[in-house]
């Protein structure tokens, strides 16, 4: 169980990255959605003990993450969004090194663990191969292998499916689902579908604040009856008096989705809301809140 309370962080340049962030996470995948610069990475890095917070607290199964980072590091796995490898070192060797860092100092135990871990992500046969020769997908799998080393109670993965082909993405998602059975797994992503498919719980972060928090199904249901769609012909202006959720080109015509308690006009039809609508309405409200 991961408990986050009133987390605040302001950078030296004055940017407020986290504002009163509070969350309670149980075992399972927790999706963290948000636009660029929303504070996702700041939150992930704070949870991964890589960055200090100005105030608030984070408890992981009774361990005070902020004040006892060393203890917390023994229980967490971290896969950064953009990480590199030693190009001239084999997968086995680097994983072995990381296992040492995680406290596996017994050679035999470590050897078994590394082999098992590489088998888990299907890299066992390429274990002697230099990491510099790995493809993006292999590297990502290596990343998850290292994040899962040891008895991790919290796994933090930042944009893990970016750069994977559709097949690998599905496998990766399945793997994440499986490993999250008995631990907290935080998945930060831009891809709304990833969260919709995978996460029983989620939160939307915008400008350092949690603007939505709950199960994707419940959040989606809450918009039922409020989302209306219409196809605009080319050249037809987008109405300015409506709360537009999305306006995008679909097969040569503009497809408009708006938020409204009732049908804005006869041309609009009611549609079943999806997680994208939840995401964009959340950002929409927030912009207005700030504007007011």
């Amino acid at each position: 169980m991961l408990v986050i309370r009133q987390l605040n962080k302001t950078y030296v340049n004055g940017i407020q990255a986290l504002r009163d962030v509070s969350l309670e996470l149980d075992c399972g995948i927790f999706g963290l959605l948000g636009p660029n610069g929303a504070g996702k990475s700041s939150l992930m890095r704070t949870l991964a003990t890589l960055q200090a917070a100005d105030s608030g607290f984070v408890h992981l199964n009774g361990v005070d993450v902020l004040n006892d980072p060393q203890q917390a590091r023994g229980r967490l796995g971290y896969l950064p969004q953009d990480f590199g490898v030693y190009p001239n070192v084999s997968a086995e060797e680097l994983l072995d090194q990381l296992a040492v860092f995680k406290g596996f100092t017994h050679r035999r135990q470590r050897r078994d663990l590394v082999a098992q871990q590489l088998a888990l992500v299907n890299l066992y046969e390429q274990r002697k191969q230099k990491l510099g020769t790995f493809s993006g997908g292999m590297r990502q799998r290596f990343g998850i292998a290292q994040a899962l080393l040891g008895a991790t109670e919290l796994v933090i993965v930042d944009e893990p499916t970016a750069g994977l082909d559709p097949m690998e993405r599905i496998r990766f998602q399945n793997l994440l689902a499986e490993i999250s059975r008995d631990r907290v797994l935080i998945l930060s992503t831009h891809i709304v579908e990833d969260v919709a498919d995978l996460c029983p719980q989620m939160a939307i972060l915008h400008r350092g604040r949690i603007v939505r928090n709950g199960s994707p199904a419940v959040l989606t249901r809450s918009l039922r009856g409020k989302v209306w769609a219409k196809r605009l012909d080319l050249g037809e202006p987008v109405p300015t008096d409506l709360q537009v959720i999305t306006s995008r080109m679909v097969q040569g015509a503009r497809s408009l989705r708006v938020l409204s308690a009732a049908a804005p006009d006869a041309d609009f039809e009611a549609v079943e809301p999806d997680l994208n609508d939840v995401y964009f309405t959340a950002l929409l409200e927030n912009i207005e809140a700030i504007a007011v």
């Binding site: 950078y11 030296v12 890095r45 991964a48 003990t49 890589l50 960055q51 200090a52 060393q70 203890q71 590091r73 023994g74 967490l76 796995g77 971290y78 896969l79 950064p80 953009d82 990480f83 590199g84 490898v85 030693y86 190009p87 001239n88 070192v89 090194q97 990381l98 040492v100 860092f101 995680k102 406290g103 596996f104 100092t105 017994h106 135990q109 078994d112 663990l113 098992q116 088998a119 888990l120 299907n122 046969e125 390429q126 510099g132 020769t133 790995f134 493809s135 997908g137 292999m138 990343g143 040891g150 008895a151 097949m167 496998r171 793997l175 499986e178 490993i179 059975r181 008995d182 631990r183």
Partner: protein
């Protein structure tokens, strides 16, 4: 950071317009210049050459090499050639970087897919990079000129400022040599896109130069083949030296070398080769990216196979997933061992290290050979280590600074650091393993030096392999400096968190001795990693000098420990917030154990420092006047008595008691004094060498009128004058004080390292003028080089020697007390 080419100018370039310097060309040129100007490397390298030029002039000018001008044309030429060897560094930093950059930053495909023409792409960038190389290299010029303007330089070492000499040296040597190394760097970098390979090529050029050094001969010059070998030297040093071989000091100072003969042919040959290499590489260059060596194909087939086979298994966390509970100290120890092994392996298996090792071995052989030419001796261990250390002091120092930066920044550059930082490994393990890897590199280099030198001895038929002495000299005498440099280099990286600033800071701290020397601040308590003067002698070993050395090593070792503890506390873990608040937070978070350890280390450091201070300033004078200063003062104060008639010594009896363990002596002497002059002698003057104590002077009827023990001058009135031809007996005791503790430096400018009156445990050398009193003022105190007399503010010696038949000379001792009338007594 790369070319920002909008499509429009590129499109223009595609039009076959045969102007060599089109708009695109100049746009690229401008971009490249600005790009290099923004890089700290440019400023760092310019600063380095500037410092080179200035420091060189300052240290030469302060010492003064007799009557050679340090800014004579021939000297300027020599220095320019010498610096052009280091131009290799600048060429790698600008030219090689330019042609490796696009491949490394993965921007190559973007640029190569534009309709940019080859001439604009290659020639403009080469021109810019070569220009930057020249610009950075030229830092030595203002450095040298400024150096000659410094106050306090020896006047005899300074000739008039001759700008033409700087210009000619630049045109004949700097320009062609830098073009050659730049063309080679261009050739190798554009073909291989690898910096390491480029360094290798440049090292081969330097090796050619060193090979000529050996072939020309260091001891006996091979005149028969000299011209041939002089042509082989790419930098033109020996072709130039040929001109100087027959020059006198005056010619050295006055003449301007001319571009004729071997020198002209050498310059034409190597400039031609440079141009050839450039044109060949330009032709061979294809405007396509290098095929990547990465074997994606192999990987993909494997993945596909397994995809068909099925699943990624998941094994739930079991007992084997939990690290065996270990004593945290033991776990940290094992982690440190493992990580140190990993870090060390990563350095040792790198191509750069192999090249450096190969280059180092050859350089060591050359230093071994060069030790022969100025010592005319068997290749004995101490001589070889002495000359090897000259090499190590520069090369090993550079290796340490470079690898400290590499070790600290590698994981950050590879974007692997955050992964490491999220594991429970201690900062101490991360820091110490890097230090251990650096220590391993140093140790390997020192062992390599031993291996090369032992092999050299064996090849020369010298079989007295003294391994303990090798270890003592390299690891105890010289080693601490290198290990401490590693500590400093790592500490500066941790604290500044700026790669180049940290490297510069390390170099700056290490070079701080030069300005401190200029200021006359010699105390080793504030000279980084310095210890008292220490030198091995085959007869006496290190003698008593080792004691002080070990105390200083302990002192600096404690300083190093404190630096490492500080680095541990401020080790940047994760994303570190800058500013004062960030530093404060880190300090607060440091455990009480570490801060207590740091405080304890600082207390010990202060304690040892105080003990050294007590020994070097209280028990022993910190900077007592040396022999030259004392002699100058004696001359000023007592030359007035030179004309007084004095007796000469016709016989000496001496009983010297040496106390080697306590390092002092007592001498009881007896002179027979005879009046060789034609007038009665009414007073007797005695003059002793510095630090010599004179006592129990007995001479019938003599009373001490005035004693100036500080200058060793004593004047006695004689009750009864010593008449011409008469003889009398003088008895006296001379002794030195038993030395206490140890000194900061050896305060002598006479016998190297050993004070003239020092009694040592084995092999004391006593010389009568130093242990016996002179009778009367002696001209011996006046004998100095002209520039030294000038420096000490003494008038020049116009009368250096009297004619053979001058009656004054015949009646006076000229050199020694015991030398009279042209015969030894």
């Amino acid at each position: 950071m790369t070319l920002n080419l909008s499509t429009r100018p590129s499109a223009q370039a595609a039009i076959p317009k045969r102007s060599l310097f089109s708009g695109v060309f100049s746009a690229i040129l401008r971009f490249e210049f600005l790009y290099h100007l923004r890089r700290p490397s440019f400023w760092l390298i310019t600063g380095l050459f500037f410092t080179f030029g200035m420091v060189d002039v300052l240290s030469n000018g302060a010492q003064g090499n007799a009557f050679f001008f340090i800014n004579s044309p021939s000297q300027i030429f020599q220095t320019t050639i010498w610096y052009s060897l280091f131009g290799v560094l600048a060429a790698a930093a600008f030219v090689a970087e330019t042609f490796v950059r696009d491949a490394n930053t993965r921007i190559e495909s973007l640029i190569l897919s534009t309709p940019l023409c080859k001439w604009d792409y290659l020639a403009a960038r080469f021109m810019a990079a070569f220009g930057m190389t020249l610009l950075a290299f030229s830092g030595y010029l203002p450095g040298m000129v400024l150096g000659t303007q410094f106050p306090g330089l020896n006047d005899f070492a300074l000739g008039p400022l001759r700008p033409l000499a700087y210009v000619l040296a630049y045109l004949i040597f700097a320009l062609p040599n830098l073009f050659l190394v730049s063309a080679l760097a261009f050739s190798l970098a554009s073909r291989t896109r690898s910096l390491v390979m480029t360094y290798a090529g440049s090292i081969i050029l330097i090796m050619l130069y060193l090979a000529t050094l050996m072939l020309v001969g260091t001891e006996v010059i091979d005149y028969e083949q000299y011209r041939l070998w002089a042509m082989v030297d790419p930098f033109g040093f020996y072709a130039f030296e040929e001109k100087l071989m027959s020059w006198s000091v005056h010619e050295h100072n006055q003449l301007m070398p001319t571009l004729t003969g071997t020198l002209l042919w050498n310059r034409l040959l190597w400039l031609g080769l440079g141009v050839g290499i450039w044109i060949d590489s330009y032709r061979a260059y294809e405007m396509v990216g290098l095929r990547s060596a990465r074997s994606f194909g192999r990987d993909k087939s494997g993945v596909v196979q397994r995809r068909e086979q099925g699943e990624w298994r998941f094994v739930p966390a079991g007992a084997e997933h939990r690290a065996v509970d270990e004593n945290p100290r033991k776990a940290a120890l094992l982690q440190w061992l493992h990580r140190s092994g990993f870090e060390t392996r990563s350095i040792l298996t790198g191509r750069a290290f192999l090249l450096l090792t190969a280059c180092g071995s050859i350089s060591l052989v050359i230093t071994a050979i060069s030790s022969r030419s100025h010592n005319y001796s068997y290749p004995s261990t101490d001589l070889l280590v002495h000359s090897a250390n000259l090499y190590l002091e520069y090369i090993l120092f550079a290796i340490i600074v470079v690898y400290a930066a590499e070790l600290f920044w590698r994981d950050r550059t590879l974007r692997l650091q955050l992964v490491f930082d999220a594991t429970p490994v201690s900062n101490g393990v991360l820091l110490l393993s890097k230090l251990t890897a650096l220590f391993a590199v140093i140790t390997i280099n020192l062992l390599l030096a031993i291996a090369v030198m032992v092999a050299y001895q064996a090849l020369n038929g010298y079989t007295q392999f003294d391994l303990p002495l090798y270890f003592k000299m390299l690891f105890v005498e010289h080693g601490p400096y290198f290990y401490l440099t590693a500590v400093l280099a790592l500490f500066t990286q941790v604290i500044t968190r700026q790669k180049y600033a940290a490297m510069a800071l390390t170099v700056l701290i290490s070079l701080s001795k030069i300005p401190l020397d200029a200021l006359g601040w010699y105390h080793n308590l504030y000279r980084w990693a310095s210890t008292n003067d220490i030198e091995y002698s085959p007869m006496n070993g290190y003698g008593h000098l080792m004691t002080g050395h070990l105390w200083y090593v302990l002192y600096w070792g404690l300083c190093g420990t404190a630096l490492m503890l500080t680095a541990y506390i401020f080790w940047p873990r994760g994303i570190v917030s800058g500013g004062w608040r960030g530093w404060q937070r880190v300090w607060r978070q440091a455990g009480a154990g570490v801060t207590r350890l740091l405080a304890g280390t600082l207390v010990l450091f202060a304690g040892v420092g105080s003990w050294i201070f007590y020994n070097t300033t209280q028990l022993n004078a910190y900077q007592p006047p040396g022999k030259e200063l004392t002699a100058a003062e004696v001359e000023r104060r007592f030359k007035q008595h030179e004309a007084l008639p004095m007796p000469v010594v016709t016989a000496t009896k001496l009983k010297v008691e040496l106390y080697p363990q306590k390092r002092y002596f007592v001498a009881e002497g007896e002179y027979q004094l005879k009046n060789n002059t034609k007038i009665p002698i009414r007073e007797l003057h005695l003059l002793t060498f510095i630090n010599l104590e004179l006592a129990n002077v007995t001479y019938l009827g003599a009373t001490l009128r005035e004693a100036q023990p500080e200058w060793g001058y004593y004047m006695y009135d004689l009750d009864k004058p010593l008449l011409p031809g008469e003889t009398q007996t003088l008895r006296f005791t001379t002794s030195t004080k038993q030395p206490q503790g140890f000194k900061n430096q050896v305060d002598t400018d006479d016998v190297y390292m050993i004070h003239p009156n020092d009694v040592v445990s084995n092999g004391t050398n006593l010389y009568s003028p130093f242990i016996l009193p002179f009778v009367g003022y002696t001209k011996m105190v006046e004998h100095k080089k002209a520039w030294q007399r000038h420096k000490l503010d003494l008038p020049p010696l116009d009368e250096r020697m009297l004619p053979h038949d001058d009656p004054r000379g015949l009646s006076q001792p000229m050199m020694l007390t015991h030398w009279i009338g042209g015969q030894w007594i």
